[in-house]
């Protein structure tokens, strides 16, 4: 083996080694310790307990409902995006990424303001009915959880399914038409089979996100509605490590099988689909009045559920529902450095997110390279490692890091490095994927050309590949930053008071009913995400949805 090959292997091995240390080992440790040397409730008792069964059933139930709602509301949008020709489509398509990068806790703030007691919808209803007290509260309990999950995942369904629809060769549809297929038969025999893999993939991904969703369940479920993820958190807080580990094991079995089927579906999606340049589209003028009314109604519904909560965050930052008055105290608080002030969390957020972005990109590049290589074991290992963070919930990860890293290394007094580690791992799938996409789009003959022109391996890397990869690396970085700065679950688990980030501060402020303080911090995160979205849009043109 020559020196260059050795270096290449080292570069590829380093992220794998780090992920083994900081992801695989902690999680395995948690499961092992809890199950076999248990302090607290043993595995069998946990499984047999009716509380666990109720929790598991509720977790599956809410994820099923959320997925069904997201698919139901997302499908028409996918058809509109793929089939309708209208202005501003690229902006809307790109804007779909915003809800996805929005921190869940910010969504909670927006939802409370939009659908909660004394929120926008409620205020309207109170005015209509003349009632002095809250009439309707859609932001709590099961409706709140399901709506918020739909908010997150409708854009996901729209993006993935519309991308698949756009790859359907229009001549296939025309063939079917000439052979006498009616519109309904065409949908059933041609279109649905074509989009089925992407529809299933987006459903599985949605299900996965809803299954492990933490901040939304914690804040909107208010302790009455508890999912597995939330129970692990409660169990850990009550020092019942046996129960926490047992629940984590159950959860990992479910999430890993979901993640595995997502990967399998992804392979199916790539098979036998030739990209087509021409699409079968209709212009706005070719639609009938009834169709236009239907479309407008759908768009209004979507604006209500998806755009509404984002806009509502603005009101949340200045309107205090307790005093029913407007104030700028929230922003003042952001700049106050004292206890309960927002300055320290703000600085923490930026610092941790910047650090973890740096790591996520540095590790993402070799992972993307390893992933690109065809079907060798290294590629399989790399892609498994890259996707693993998606299958391991944030709470399980944080719990593992606490047990396996923080305590043995004596970081208990100030565990900030572990927060950075957790945020890095959570951002890694997104940065690696962005870079991988950029890497794939590099024409291999370009590198051969550089080779023929006498470029050395290093010259090729620095003068040809990295400049071509730069946009992908930047997009990956922005993605990782957005995921890191909005991360609440693991950070809440690990952070001591001096490590609190904005996302955690929002949760804490909400639970002590300091609404404007939460709202102002949420607005800051919304702005960060909007800037991130604009940056991604600028850099990728239109393909930002591909990162999913």
């Amino acid at each position: 083996m020559n020196r260059q090959t050795l270096m290449a292997y080292l570069a590829l091995a380093s992220p794998l080694v780090l992920l083994t240390c900081f992801l695989v080992y902690p999680v395995v440790d948690v499961l092992g310790q809890g199950l076999f040397f248990g302090m607290g409730t043993p595995f069998y008792d946990v499984v047999a307990s009716p509380v666990t069964q109720r929790t598991l059933i509720f977790t599956l139930y809410q994820a099923t409902l959320s997925t069904a709602l997201a698919v139901l509301l997302g499908l028409p949008g996918a058809f509109l995006i793929a089939r309708l020709r209208f202005r501003g489509k690229s902006v809307i398509r790109a804007g779909m990424i915003v809800p996805f990068v929005l921190p869940p806790i910010v969504v909670v703030v927006g939802f409370l303001q939009m659908f909660g007691a004394y929120g926008l919808v409620d205020s309207l209803m109170m005015t209509i009915t003349g009632s002095p007290v809250s009439v309707i509260n859609l932001a709590s309990g099961l409706p709140g959880i399901v709506l918020a999950h739909a908010f997150y995942n409708i854009p996901l369904v729209v993006l993935m399914v519309s991308a698949s629809l756009e790859r359907l060769n229009p001549e296939v549809e025309e063939s079917a038409e000439l052979l006498g297929a009616s519109r309904l038969q065409m949908l059933r025999r041609i279109v649905l089979p074509h989009i089925l893999p992407s529809l299933l993939a987006s459903s599985v991904l949605t299900y996965l996100f809803c299954f492990t969703s933490f901040p939304i369940v914690l804040a909107l479920g208010q302790g009455r509605y508890v999912t597995l993820e939330a129970r692990i958190w409660y169990a850990f807080r009550y020092f019942d490590y046996g129960e926490a580990s047992s629940l984590a094991l159950i959860q990992i079995l479910v999430t890993l099988s979901l993640a595995y089927s997502y990967v399998r579906l992804g392979r199916m999606r790539q098979q036998g689909i030739a990209p087509t340049s021409t699409m079968k589209q209709v212009g706005l003028r070719e639609l009938s009045a009834a169709q236009i009314v239907l479309i407008l109604a759908y768009l209004a519904l979507l604006a209500f559920i998806v755009a509404g909560p984002i806009v509502a965050v603005v009101r949340a930052s200045v309107y205090d529902p307790l005093t029913k008055s407007y104030s700028l105290d929230g922003f003042g608080n952001l700049l106050s450095a004292g206890t309960g002030g927002g300055l320290v969390p703000l600085i923490n957020s930026v610092f941790y997110a910047a650090m973890s972005t740096l790591f996520a990109v540095t590790l993402g590049i070799p992972l993307a390279y390893a992933h690109r290589g065809s079907k060798n074991p290294t590629a399989t290992l790399a892609s498994t490692m890259t996707l693993l963070p998606l299958g391991v919930s944030a709470i399980t990860l944080a719990y593992g890091l606490m047990r396996a890293i923080v305590v043995p290394l004596g970081l208990s007094a100030n565990p900030w490095p572990v927060i950075v580690v957790a945020q890095t791992i959570i951002g890694l799938p997104f940065s690696a994927r962005s870079i991988e996409i950029a890497l794939r789009s590099i024409d291999p003959s370009l590198l051969d050309q550089a080779d023929l022109l006498g470029a050395s391996r290093l010259q090729k890397l620095f003068f040809v590949e990295l400049p071509l990869l730069a946009p992908g690396i930047l997009v990956g970085g922005v993605f990782a930053f957005a995921m890191a700065i909005g991360e609440m679950s693991a950070t809440l688990f690990i952070a001591l008071p001096q490590n609190v980030t904005l996302a955690v501060a929002i949760y804490q402020n909400l639970s002590v009913r300091k609404f404007v303080e939460a709202g102002a911090a949420a607005l800051v995160l919304v702005l960060v995400c909007l800037i991130a979205f604009l940056a991604i849009d600028r850099m990728t043109g239109r393909a930002s949805g591909g990162t999913l």
Partner: protein, 357 residues
């Protein structure tokens, strides 16, 4: 079942300003007419107007004298093979061929019998239970043809069906298509930009340029007597000369092209600008200069099956000649740039209209 198809002044202008038509064309029962032309000449648009995917703004489309423009595509009785083949990827070969029959609610036994009949005719019986991604390009082509023909359409439309295949397979399938089309006697329009392909399969060829049919006729007629400059350049090897008439004789005229005088069959007034074309095989090349020949320089020699193609330079005009004399060609190839003499029989030169030279 077959129909006589008439296109009368079919015309469509697109929002970007491109215009196709008016197209006038008559295809007899069981006839195969090819639309041949460069890309962008409106061949595919014309085909899609016939299929009903593009609605023409003017004109009419008659099947046996009945206007079908208001009939939706699925009810026109059309079988079509697309350029991208467009087989249904989620189905087997059998299901693809049976699709139209299923849509028409045929009984299962009838469907099976018909699919087997079609697959025998196209020699794909062994593939029926394969998946679409398990068959080759040439096989896919046969399946697409079987699918288009299964429902016994009145008209068959083929949109560059062989463009994605390699030349040998293409030649083979041309013959297959011709055989099947003849045996079913189905009225067919075939679109291609490949002259050899058009000449190989067609009863008649319609040459299209800038949205219009510029000449239509049997292949040999088009080749022997191109009626205008475009057809001459597109079909021939580009031996088009332009000049002015100097003398008028009884059956011929004397045309001056730069420094050279050529005697050309035809009648025209003295002083008129004319263009004429000479087929490469009628250009005679000799190594010795004689009084009725014109001196030219050999630019290149290309060896083809059965002949050799000589590109000559006649004072700035390129002239192509086909030679069969291997000995002469050998002498001319080494070295290139030799001076030779070229001439042609006045009878073999044909005047073409319009003339932009």
């Amino acid at each position: 079942m077959s129909v006589r198809m008439e296109l009368r002044g079919l015309e469509r202008e697109f929002s970007d300003g491109t215009r196709v038509g008016p197209v006038d064309l008559v295809v007899d029962r069981g006839e195969l007419v090819t639309l041949l032309g460069p890309s962008g000449s409106g061949k595919t648009t014309t085909l899609r107007m016939i299929a009903g995917f593009i609605r023409p703004q003017e004109g009419s489309l008659l099947f046996n004298g009945e206007n079908v423009l208001t009939v939706p595509p699925r009810d026109r009785g059309i079988g079509m093979v697309f350029q991208s083949i467009a087989l249904f990827p989620n189905m087997t070969v059998f299901q693809n061929i049976a699709f139209g029959l299923d849509m028409a609610r045929w009984k299962h036994e009838d469907v099976v019998a018909r699919v087997e009949e079609m697959s025998d005719m196209l020699r794909i019986r062994g593939l029926l239970h394969r998946h679409i991604n398990e068959i080759s390009g040439g096989e896919a082509q046969r399946v697409a043809l079987a699918r288009a023909l299964a429902k016994q359409p009145r008209v068959l439309l083929l949109d560059e069906p062989l463009s994605s295949l390699d030349p040998q397979l293409r030649e083979h399938l041309q013959m297959e298509i011709r055989r099947v089309q003849r045996s079913l006697a189905i009225t067919t329009i075939y679109v291609t930009h490949d002259q050899t392909e058009a000449f190989a399969v067609s009863d008649r060829v319609a040459i299209m340029n800038e949205g219009k049919v510029v000449q239509i006729g049997p292949p040999e007629e088009l080749y022997e007597s191109p009626r205008n400059e475009f057809v001459a350049r597109f079909l021939g090897s580009g031996n088009v000369f332009s000049g002015s008439v100097e003398e008028v004789h009884e059956r011929t005229i004397l045309v001056r092209v730069n420094e050279h005088q050529f005697e050309v069959h035809g009648q025209e007034q003295v002083g008129a600008r004319v263009c004429f074309t000479v087929k490469p095989e009628d250009v005679v090349v000799a190594r010795t200069v004689s009084s009725d020949a014109h001196p030219a320089t050999v630019l290149s020699v290309i060896h083809q099956i059965g002949s050799h193609r000589l590109v000559l330079d006649l004072d700035g005009t390129q002239v192509v000649s086909l030679l069969t004399d291997s000995e002469l060609v050998r002498q001319l190839s080494e070295p290139l740039g030799q001076r030779v003499a070229l001439r042609f029989d006045p009878e073999s030169a044909a005047l073409v209209e319009p003339c932009n030279g």
